[in-house]
């Protein structure tokens, strides 16, 4: 590569850095002293550097900040209102869970409930959805035990899976942080219980 071309490659940085007196640039300085073409190019670079250092910024209209603040304030308010009526990523999993619990409770055979020592809850569970319970029992008899449970587990798994995937679609790094904290807490408690268990006689 010809010397002038090499020098021209170094010149923009050299001028931008304020033409430092470092030994690394001694060859370049010597070349500038003897080469009028490169010296003229360095002079033009100085003009460019001066113009760029005064390159004016554009300023936003004074009302822009107000507009921005209005827009995110209204969004944060809308977000709070949305929370009040429960967003879909909360109510779908909650509904799925409630449905699963209800099905599980209603599927407990009545003789098993009456045999256990929980008369209040047993009575509530047996009497409150008696019509649905009777329908479920007849369905269980008609379908047979295996097919009946296969259907209900299928419905539960589908609904719960739908709820979980909808929730995950709205997953943010903040949720990951909360999950990390929860995991750390659970691990800590488990470790303490484990230690306690080992020390116990």
């Amino acid at each position: 590569m010809p010397l002038c071309e090499q020098i021209r490659r170094q010149l923009p940085q050299y001028v931008a850095d304020g033409e430092p007196m470092q030994a690394a640039y001694s060859g370049l300085r010597e070349h500038l002293r003897v080469c009028p073409t490169c010296r003229a190019f360095a002079a033009r670079l100085r003009l460019v550097e001066g113009a760029l250092r005064t390159y004016p910024s554009v300023s936003p209209a004074p009302e822009m900040a107000e507009k921005i603040i209005c827009s995110f304030s209204s969004e944060s308010q809308a977000r709070q209102e949305e929370w009040r009526i429960l967003p879909w990523d909360v109510w779908v999993p909650v509904l799925a869970f409630a449905l699963a619990v209800m099905i599980a409770l209603m599927s407990i055979p009545s003789e098993l409930l009456s045999a256990t020592a929980a008369p209040e809850w047993g009575t509530v569970v047996i009497n409150w959805p008696s019509a649905i319970g009777a329908w479920l029992n007849s369905l269980r008899l008609q379908l047979g035990e295996g097919q009946f449970w296969a259907i209900w587990i299928g419905i539960f798994a589908t609904t719960a899976g739908l709820g979980i995937s909808l929730s995950l679609s709205n997953w943010t790094p903040k949720h990951s942080q909360s999950l990390d904290r929860l995991e750390t807490g659970v691990t800590d408690v488990a470790a303490r219980l484990w230690d306690h268990g080992r020390r116990a006689p």
């Binding site: 760029l52 004016p56 554009v58 921005i68």
Partner: protein
Amino acid sequence: MNDPLADLVVHSQRGDADAFAGLVAQTQGGVYNLAYNVLRNYEDAQDITQEIYMRAWRALPGFRGEAKFTTWLYRLAVNTCLNKRRQLRTQLNIVDSDEVLQRLATAESDPVAAALDKERAAYLWAAVDRLPEKYRLVIGLFYQEQRSYQEIAEILSLPLGTVKAHLNRAREALAQSLGQDREGNDASM
């Protein structure tokens, strides 16, 4: 990392709208200027600045403070503007000479700018406007926003060497255009 905006950022992350308004007040000039450097249109720059802050407000809980807030915000701004520019590519307005002269007039109060030959400075600023987008962005961030090479590299997701190379190529291209202009003027005389 010692960030002067750290307190406002922490409060904004907890949903404090007043703290976020403080962040907007302190950073909107830089974001708007950056948007203008990409889009070259005042109205588009204003609209996109609004969109950038809405995105920042939504994404702020995910900001972990690994970089300075302004670096994170500028990175978000660059990505948003480049996406917008892709959409607007066919209908972009090019800055005309009147606009350049208007900008020159606003800089007149600066004694250094006043000392410069106005015509040449106006010519160079107009030449910057004609540079490819990647060069305009680094020039805007380095000279107007006073960002370091390292910060620019983080904002644009480029290696440090590439940032320096972009700046040097831009300076070289501007110096060459100045030479051509002079030669053109000399030839016409």
